[in-house]
């Protein structure tokens, strides 16, 4: 039995290694357009994982995600910039994430007590008030025109296009360098979010979603866990905001509107609520779709090139139809989203490979302890 577990572990580790190597290749082969899609997707995935923890796992709807993305993005820009304290950029990143967490914590009197879909309306306030502050607090945010974002420097290495860096004969500009930063931050997100989901806090949040009563009588402090889920989700959003700011190199208020919040909700719904992998898949889908459609507009039926005659269906609109419809279809016909589809396909494959074991008898007799011992699959 222990052999099987070791085999499983090494198998898993090998898969992980292959995936990691594959993810490191694109900067050497793809041009900036594709790298930018990847970069935006990674940032979106980080934010979507945060929202998945809140809305998918804890069952708390939030339409305020754009606000926390903005706190992260503007927080970094202000902390590292001028006007602002002008801190070292490497310090500004974690501080901006903490700022987003703090903002989420300040909202906890509402986030801890208002539950489920009702929180969705309460969080609308954050987006609208936040947008208003971004527009009016000009000395910090730069007002309507926004601010330019100082590039990140880590121990003498700067994530921008200067210095004519060449790696293995490939010139490394900002996109190539940021790709690896995005990858590292995404790996951190993946690692921490899955750790959370499979442990005590994650189980408590899922229990809250399924039955507040059952969770409470099992010892879960309901208000505290709701607030904590909100804070954690805000911090992931803040991290995503920082990465987006670095990728865009400029932050403007209009980007962080209700539409962005709805985009994030679309990501986790399409991906399948409450799973890290699903949120990632949803994030790539929602982020890449409009960019790809813009690039290939001339080759797509029914879609006009951007900027063509009024009233034609542009690529951005076509993308929005598609994922608006995807939300409706996924929720009504495949409630566990892309993640669920993938899992069902995997189960089917597995069943084909291994003969099914006989089902347990209907009236279970108390099993002898030895017979009960099975290799466990889900411990970390």
């Amino acid at each position: 039995m222990s052999d099987r577990i070791t085999a499983l572990l090494t198998h898993r580790r090998a898969t992980l290694l292959v995936v990691a190597v594959l993810l490191c290749l694109p900067p050497f082969y793809l041009d900036a357009f594709w790298l930018r899609i990847g970069l935006f997707s990674m940032a979106a995935a980080i934010g979507a994982v945060g929202l998945a923890l809140l809305s998918g796992t804890a069952g708390q709807l939030s339409l305020g995600h754009a606000f926390f993305l903005a706190v992260g993005a503007y927080g970094y820009t202000w902390l590292a910039g001028d006007p602002g304290p002008g801190l070292p950029t490497a310090l500004a990143v974690p501080l901006a994430v903490l700022m987003a967490g703090l903002a989420g914590g300040l909202f906890s009197p509402v986030a801890g007590r208002v539950k489920g879909i009702y929180l969705g309306i309460a969080t609308l306030a954050l987006v609208f008030l936040g947008h208003h502050v971004l527009l009016t607090a000009e000395s910090v945010t730069g007002g309507f025109n926004g601010r330019s974002v100082p590039p990140l420097s880590l121990g003498g290495f700067t994530f921008d296009s200067d210095g004519g860096l060449n790696v293995l004969g490939v010139p490394f500009g900002a996109e190539e360098r940021l790709w690896f930063l995005g990858l590292a931050l995404f790996a951190l997100t993946w690692f921490t979010a899955r750790g959370l989901l499979r442990s005590r806090p994650g189980r408590a949040l899922a229990a809250l979603r399924d039955s507040e009563t059952a969770a409470a009588v099992m010892g879960v402090d309901v208000a505290r866990h709701r607030s904590a889920a909100f804070v954690v989700s805000s911090m992931y959003a803040g991290l995503a905001g920082v990465l987006l700011a670095l990728a865009f190199r400029r932050v403007v208020p209009d980007y962080f509107g209700l539409v962005l919040s709805v985009d994030y909700l679309a990501m986790i719904v399409i991906g399948g609520l409450g799973s890290v992998a699903g949120a990632t898949a949803g994030a790539v889908f929602v982020t890449a779709l409009p960019l790809l459609m813009t690039r290939y507009a001339d080759q797509l039926p029914l879609v006009a090139a951007p900027g063509s005659a009024d009233g034609a269906v542009g690529p951005t609109e076509a993308a929005r139809y598609l994922y608006g419809a995807a939300i409706v279809l996924v929720l009504l016909y495949a409630p566990d989203g892309l993640h669920g589809l993938a899992r069902r396909a995997r189960d089917r494959l597995r069943r084909r490979r291994t003969p099914t074991t006989a089902p347990d008898t209907a009236v279970p007799s108390p099993p002898p302890p030895a017979a009960a011992a099975r290799p466990k699959e889900h411990t970390p």
Partner: protein, 298 residues
């Protein structure tokens, strides 16, 4: 003094229009437990229909048709999409998110058609004003107050005196029990959605009328201000929605009226004032001002 009266009348008119939207929102919630995030785009849909039809049908004809078609669209969305999900509390939550998907599609389509234009609805009031003692009021605002008062009275009569109203209240109390007692939830729900659609289309006319410049693609977002109104009222109470709408309308008008005194809050704070009020109220009373149920519903 005149300024104050001016602001109060403006706030009353705005509150009356919000009440039309918020009432629809509450009716849908009572009947189906769904928060309709597509309400703003339904409103825009109604306004858009009036804008394109009034040249051919005249204002009254266009409005009548727009109200009917928007009602039908809302009813159909519920009957053919949302109701597939079932009637229990969990599916109500799923359906709420489905309405967000519907909103994306509908809003994208309407925004594409409207583009950057300002559409006129051909309403009979134009930019006419009436002198009421010391203040000058736009006729459209007086019409908004009068029409809303009549329509809202009618809706309350529907609740109270018709079998549909009784079924609606029974369903809001306890869906399962209502179904067992023979209430046909599907029909009651679809009826509620139709009513809400009709109210939204009507509200669109007043939101786009003078002194607003016309119907634009962001008009639907203004209608979102009725969300705070409904939340203040506790979501499940039509009377609460009415009171909440007035609070929101008056606050917004007063903030705009006293913009210069409130400049610390920044220019354009009036647009977001409803949300500030909602946050303050939620901090003190998470269930809303009148909320016995509402946010506390399990």
């Amino acid at each position: 003094m005149t300024d104050l009266l001016d602001s109060l009348l403006g706030g009353l008119a705005l509150g009356a229009v919000y009440a039309l939207v918020a009432l629809g929102f509450v009716v849908i919630f009572k009947a189906s437990g769904v928060l309709n995030f597509a309400h703003g785009s339904l409103l825009l849909f109604g306004g858009y229909l009036v804008a394109v039809l009034h040249d051919d049908l005249g204002f009254a004809g266009a409005l009548a048709l727009a109200v009917v078609v928007t009602a039908a669209l809302a009813g159909a969305l519920d009957r053919f999409l949302l109701q597939r999900g079932g009637h229990d509390a969990h599916s109500a939550h799923v359906q709420t998110i489905v309405t967000i998907g519907i909103d994306i599609v509908l809003l994208t389509e309407l925004a594409r058609r409207i583009g950057g234009d300002l559409l006129t609805l051909g309403d009979p009031w134009g930019d006419a004003v009436t002198e009421l003692g010391p203040v000058t009021v736009a006729d459209s605002r007086l019409a908004a107050i009068a029409v809303s008062a009549v329509v809202i009275t009618g809706v309350f009569a529907l609740f109270r005196f018709t079998s549909w109203g009784l079924s609606l209240r029974a369903a809001a109390e306890d869906m399962e029990a209502a179904a067992l007692m023979g209430v046909r939830l599907g029909r009651v729900r679809a009826g509620a959605w139709c009513l809400a659609g009709a109210l939204a289309a009507l509200a669109a006319v007043f939101l786009a009328a003078f002194p607003a410049p016309g119907l634009e693609r962001t008009t639907g977002q203004i209608a979102l201000n009725a969300f705070p109104a409904a939340i203040l009222g506790g979501l499940a109470s039509p009377t609460g929605a009415l009171a909440g709408s007035l609070v929101i309308g008056l606050t917004e008008a007063l903030v705009v009226g006293y913009q210069s005194e409130l400049h610390v809050l920044g220019e354009g704070f009036g647009d977001v004032a409803p949300y500030a009020v909602m946050l303050l109220v939620l901090l003190v009373r998470p269930n809303g001002l009148f909320g016995a149920k509402g946010a506390a519903r399990v």
